[in-house]
């Protein structure tokens, strides 16, 4: 009755249309289409929006639907399994008897393929995880097997008492000498002992850290060579052990050619009183004695050995 143009703007969607829209939105909730047969035309838009499982379910409850749903199944096949449908198309061109069956066949094939790929991925991931776990830090209360990086011939129990003492002495010595080296370099001369090997020295003197050392440059040619050479020594120094002041004075008197001591004798004498001065009988003492310059300059001698530990 009304002109078409007007109708367009004013036509309301039909109640059927409205219902179809609502039903299409809630297809999952549709359990059955009822006892009465519905015209296919009416229910078709709803069925097209159904999932495959819902469709199957509805068909089971209302078998009359099956007559008309093959096109829906076909569309479902193509939509859900695009790859396989492509394959199918390339292989043959016959339409299957039942698209519904085709759909479920395709679905199974897809599931198998996924399972295969999935298991492959899973295995790979597990392997990667295992590798990772081997590398990560683990908490344990056991010691790992000791490494034998060097000293293949080393004793299995390096920490014998002797070795321990030796190591301790080495460490201590090195720390001590390090401390003394850092202040003025003049003290280089101090560190050389005539003939004592540094390794064997475990002196207790180091505890006297209060000792201030001054480099004394005066010559004692007779004393230096070796402690055992007691013969070369002027008698006075040994006599002057109990009387330190005399010590300083004696060399100048004995060897007038020697340069006068440049240092105050009492002070040095006092210092030396703490350590048994040039007493050859106590080789440990001469650790602290300022060595003769010439000897201290000797290359590759004890001096170097002394200085080296300062790493």
């Amino acid at each position: 009755m009304m002109p078409e143009a007007e109708d367009q703007s004013r036509r309301l969607p039909t109640l059927v249309t409205y219902c179809q829209r609502v039903l299409s939105t809630y297809t999952d909730s549709i359990s059955s289409l009822g006892d009465d047969a519905i015209r296919y035309d009416v229910i078709k838009p709803v069925l097209e929006c159904c999932s495959a499982d819902t469709l199957l379910h509805l068909e089971r409850s209302s078998p009359y639907l099956e007559n008309d749903t093959s096109e829906i199944w076909q569309r479902l096949c193509w939509k859900t399994f695009p790859l396989l449908a492509e394959q199918y198309l390339q292989e043959g061109s016959e339409a299957p008897e039942s698209w519904r069956e085709q759909f479920f066949l395709l679905r199974e094939a897809e599931a198998k393929r996924l399972e295969l790929v999935g298991s492959r991925l899973r295995i790979q991931r597990m392997e990667a995880d295992e590798r990772k776990k081997e590398r990560e830090v683990k908490i344990t209360d056991r010691l790992p097997p000791p490494k034998r990086a060097r000293g293949w011939g080393a004793p299995s129990q390096p920490k014998t008492l002797f070795q321990k003492t030796k190591n301790e002495a080495t460490k201590f010595r090195s720390s001590m000498y390090t401390a003394r080296l850092l202040p003025p370099k003049r003290q280089r001369t101090l560190h050389s002992s005539p003939s004592l090997k540094p390794a064997t020295s475990g002196p207790s003197e180091p505890t006297k850290s209060m000792v201030t050392v001054k480099t004394v440059t005066y010559k004692r040619p007779s004393i230096l060579p070796a402690p055992p050479q007691s013969s070369g020594r002027p008698p006075t120094p040994s006599v002057s052990v109990p009387a330190p002041p005399k010590l300083a004075a004696s060399p100048p008197s004995a060897h007038s050619s020697n340069p006068l001591p440049t240092v105050q004798s009492p002070s040095t004498g006092e210092q030396r009183s703490f350590k048994p001065p040039i007493n050859k009988k106590d080789p440990m003492a001469s650790l602290f004695m300022p060595k003769h310059r010439t000897l201290s300059q000797l290359p590759g001698q004890n001096s170097n050995a002394r200085i080296m530990p300062t790493r």
Binding site: L15, L23, G34
Partner: protein
């Protein structure tokens, strides 16, 4: 008052009267005749030209439950309003969709189909 429904002159004064639509579970709904005429089926049933019993009694039973019948009436009213001369603006699609609860949608679909005839191209 002014309806697009054209009826016989003899029935002209009945255009505004009410008709009763009953549901299967005993509910009755009163709507204007013009509204009921939205549905072609109802229109025919209620037409005085026919000798349907319904026409004489101005009652139209619908074998659906009340919830469904109510929605039918609602839609008819809705449509009558929007296709009347009163409103010019367009109708939002969702306007009536929201008013259909999913529970009755299926039954309503069937009923609408039955009452169809004209629900899609009335007037």
């Amino acid at each position: 008052m002014s309806n697009d429904v054209q009826m016989n002159d003899s029935c002209a004064e009945k255009q505004d009267d009410w008709v009763k639509i009953t549901s299967s579970d005993g509910y009755s709904f009163l709507v204007k005749r013009s509204v009921a005429a939205i549905s072609g089926t109802l229109k025919n049933m209620l037409s005085e030209d026919s000798s349907f019993r319904e026409a004489i009694a101005n009652t139209c039973p619908i074998s659906e439950r009340a919830a469904v019948v109510e929605k039918v009436c609602e839609y008819m009213t809705f449509k009558a309003y929007y296709e009347g001369p009163g409103s010019k603006e367009g109708v939002d699609v969702n306007e009536f969709t929201e008013r259909i609860p999913p529970e009755v949608a299926l039954e309503l679909l069937l009923a609408a189909d039955y009452l169809e005839g004209v629900l899609d191209s009335s007037l």
